[in-house]
């Protein structure tokens, strides 16, 4: 029912997709797997009308289609669940579910029908009771994800794309989703299932396509492959050699930062110690409190209970500024929204934090000169430091953000998904910087959804679940250990 032929797409000269072929049959669950930045999300957006392909063709239901927007794709019968929520917090559940195709009777939106259909739809999904007439803003994250799925289904989709649908779901909700996917499949709907979680892929799919660096590596029947084989296809390299070496026990210094009983709206009873010279990885599902932990430490959404000590002395980190003064730095997972200032130059972006903290006039030119060196040292590739940063690739943007913080000489460095959506070369450069920071005596906390990265980089791994620290793993733990802790399965 869906056939992609040699689809290609570039952003600002960076090739994101290159000659990708893909087929989905009715009643088939076709999984798409690949590392971060492999091009999965871009591919899904092309199918669902979010982007137009630069080359190649999309054939849907026997016709070659170029969707001019999401609306056309939806009308044609392609539903999509995005990684980010596409819900309006001020509108009710029913209004969100039926946005764009509200049921109409005699010219007016039939509210009763809409509520009834929404309830029925949610019921058919096996979701728990939900206030369909309440604003989405009042729902929890998991409930919102259910609404998001209902929204994608509401338009009688013949092809449903699910981009990491379980990322925010709790166990029993994942089970419900499984049941739902199977039910849809049995109804003859084709499903494209994008996931990091190989276990899910094996549970659900008939076929699996592996993407790597924007190309299709292979498409295999699920029954005829194994996890190991898939991982080899996805990674295509020897894992152990790829990451810079870990810290030797002798390199690990004294405890720099301690959190005792830290809590706020999203976190509970967090106890954490970060040592100089050590990279501490943080694992867990999306929404488990990983990001909230980093944001609490950096004072964005501070701890409201508990105590934070730096060098054994209590500090009050009430704002990013306070955190910076204490020597803490933070690289957000949302590079576009919270990292870069898109229309300013590379140099302006790199100097932003230094300027914010202030400095004497006399120190200005020296600071700028140092920054130029630093940008060279982290190997930022641009047409010059005066180029606007939005024209750089994601990896180079991230290097600029890193330089911004390195210039301040942070003692505690917090990374949230530092390599998400970044090409392989830049990723490895960033890994090197992370490790070098630790070697130079900083305490590093690194959040990552990318399990190989988490396992490869960390000297110690903290796994979070539901706002708490679920457990700690030593270097050399397996992916299974992390996942087990993250989802709360008994190991």
């Amino acid at each position: 029912m869906l056939a992609l032929r040699a689809v290609g797409k570039s952003f600002l000269g960076v090739r994101v997709l290159d000659g990708v072929d893909l087929d989905v049959a009715p009643g088939e669950v076709h999984a798409v797997v690949g590392e971060n930045g492999a091009g999965k999300s871009t591919l899904m957006k092309i199918i669902s009308g979010g982007y137009a392909p630069d080359e190649g063709s999309v054939v849907f239901a026997g016709e070659t289609r170029t969707f001019r927007g999401p609306r056309e794709a939806r009308r044609a019968g392609i539903g999509i669940i995005h990684q980010e929520f596409t819900l309006l917090p001020d509108r009710t559940v029913a209004e969100n579910v039926y946005l764009g195709h509200e049921p109409v009777r005699r010219g007016l939106v039939d509210r009763r029908e809409m509520l009834a259909r929404t309830s029925a739809l949610l019921a058919s999904m096996g979701a728990g009771p939900m206030p369909v007439d309440a604003p989405v803003g009042r729902l929890g994250i998991a409930q919102r994800q259910v609404v998001e799925i209902a929204k994608a289904l509401a338009l009688d989709a013949r092809l449903l794309i699910m981009d990491e649908p379980t990322a925010a779901l709790a166990d029993h909700e994942v089970e419900l989703l499984y049941a739902l996917v199977r039910r849809l499949r049995d109804q003859g709907i084709g499903l494209l299932y994008v996931s990091h979680r190989l276990a899910e892929v094996f549970d659900l799919s008939e076929r699996i396509t592996v993407l790597k660096d924007g190309r299709r590596v292979t498409t295999v029947r699920t029954a005829q492959t194994t996890t190991d084989e898939l991982v080899r296809h996805m990674v295509g390299r020897d894992l152990s050699g790829y990451y810079p070496g870990r810290a030797a026990p002798a390199d690990v210094g004294p405890v720099l930062l301690t959190v005792r009983g830290g809590g706020n709206r999203k976190l509970h009873d967090v106890d954490l110690r970060l040592r100089a010279g050590e990279v501490v990885g943080v694992g867990g599902l999306q929404g488990s409190g990983r990001s909230a932990l980093a944001r609490a430490l950096f004072g964005v959404a501070p701890f409201t209970t508990g105590q934070v000590d730096l060098d054994g002395k209590p500090v009050r980190v009430v704002s990013p500024r306070a955190a910076m003064r204490a020597g803490i730095a933070y690289v957000s997972e949302d590079r576009k929204g919270e990292g870069i200032v898109a229309r300013q130059s590379v140099l302006d972006n790199a100097l932003l934090a230094g300027r914010a903290i202030g400095g004497s006039w006399s120190g200005r030119s020296a600071r700028t000169a140092r920054m130029r060196d630093l940008l060279g040292a982290v190997d930022v590739r641009s047409a010059g430091v005066d180029q606007e940063i939005r024209f750089l690739s994601g990896g180079n943007q991230q290097k600029v953000v890193l330089a911004r913080w390195l210039a301040l000489g942070p003692r505690v460095m917090l990374f949230d998904e530092p390599t998400r959506g970044i090409d392989v070369g830049a990723t490895s450069a960033i890994h090197d910087v992370v490790r070098r920071l630790a070697r130079d005596g900083a305490a590093v906390l690194m959040i990552s959804s990318d399990l190989p990265e988490l396992l490869g980089m960390s000297d110690r791994i903290v796994v979070m679940r539901e706002g708490r620290i679920a457990g700690e793993l030593p270097a050399g733990a397996s992916e299974a250990d992390v996942v087990a802790l993250a989802v709360g399965a008994v190991t």
């Binding site: 979010g50 982007y51 630069d54 990013p320 919270e338 990292g339 870069i340 229309r343 300013q344 200005r364």
Partner: protein
């Protein structure tokens, strides 16, 4: 984002917020004026033209700080009116009171900017509303205070800033004080925008989240922008009161002129884009347009339409050129 990616490659690379478009418009207008009125380009008349354009150039610069930080200041016009009226009443023709009143005008204008900034950033009232309210309050209060009719008189000492000039300057002939004031302040503004504060201000307008997470005190930065706008309005009030004397019409509508000038100068409403020099050139362009209309005898009633058409045209063209959003 989507279509922009492909467009970007097709369009010639003009740096967004660049000065090229405004320079082109300004150049075209200058040529038209020169054809229509060759004497205009003689040093004497050019100087006096620049001198009388000083207040709106200052207001545009002040408005630029606010707009580039992502906000609006609709209160500047009524602030100018209020200051002119207050200055006249306080001076009441006494030359001795000139300097204290000049100081008071600037300080109190800064204070109004501070109030605008604090209400906008702390109480989270959109600046459009804050400054709209401030517009009503200032004009209402000053009318109320002076019973609906300006009282007192500006001293000649006060008026000279906006009215008098250095006479017999070689080459230039006559150099209005106002021109010197605006040159000095323009230079300061350009230097300020190249300083740490200036770069931070633009960052705040472009991405307040990124700025905040880099330790920028966003609220404080924006508040300073409002204060700068207030000070610019204060100085503009001194020059304008000097140029034309006291009246309730002194500042009316200047907020829209200033915003128009800033937008003409290639500065994006919403923040993060454009140069202060562009904003000031935008103001100069607007003044030149009015002069051109005076020179070519365009009927007074048609002028708003010409002005509207040129604004829409300039902005539509630059919107079509700018690749994203």
């Amino acid at each position: 984002m989507t279509t922009g990616d492909t467009l970007l490659r097709r369009l010639p690379r003009v740096r967004a917020g660049g000065l090229l478009p405004i320079l082109v418009i300004l150049g075209v207008l200058l040529i038209l004026v020169a054809i229509r009125q060759p004497g205009f380009l003689a040093p004497g008349s050019l100087m006096s033209f620049l001198g009388r354009s000083a207040p709106i150039i200052l207001l545009a610069a002040g408005q630029y700080f606010v707009i580039v930080s992502g906000e609006f200041d609709l209160s500047v016009g009524s602030l100018v009116t209020a200051q002119v009226v207050i200055a006249a009443r306080l001076i009441d023709g006494e030359p001795d009171r000139t300097w204290p009143v000049v100081a008071l005008v600037i300080v109190s204008s800064a204070f109004v900017g501070l109030v605008n900034g604090v209400i906008t950033t702390w109480l989270r009232v959109p600046s459009f509303i804050t400054t709209l309210g401030m517009l009503l309050i200032l004009v209402g209060a000053v009318y109320f205070w002076s019973d609906g009719s300006p009282k007192g008189e500006l001293s000649e000492q006060f008026r000279r800033f906006g009215r008098r000039a250095f006479e017999d300057v070689p080459v230039f002939g006559r150099v209005p004080y106002a021109l010197l004031v605006v040159l000095v302040l323009a230079l300061l503004a350009i230097v300020l925008m190249r300083s740490d504060f200036g770069r931070t201000l633009v960052a705040v307008g472009d991405s307040p989240r990124a700025a905040e997470l880099s330790g920028v005190r966003v609220a404080r930065t924006r508040t300073i922008a409002f204060v700068l706008s207030g000070v610019a309005a204060g100085v503009a009030a001194i020059l304008l009161g000097g140029y034309s004397g006291v009246s309730f019409q002194a500042g009316s509508g200047l907020e829209f002129s200033a915003i128009t000038a800033v937008v003409l100068g290639g500065v994006a409403l919403g923040g993060g884009r454009g140069a202060v020099l562009g904003a000031m050139l935008g103001a100069l362009t607007l003044e030149l347009l009015f002069a051109l209309m005076n020179f070519s005898g365009v009927s007074g009633t048609v002028r708003p339409a010409v002005q509207g058409a040129i604004i829409l045209l300039a902005v539509a063209v630059s919107a079509a050129r700018s690749p994203s959003d």
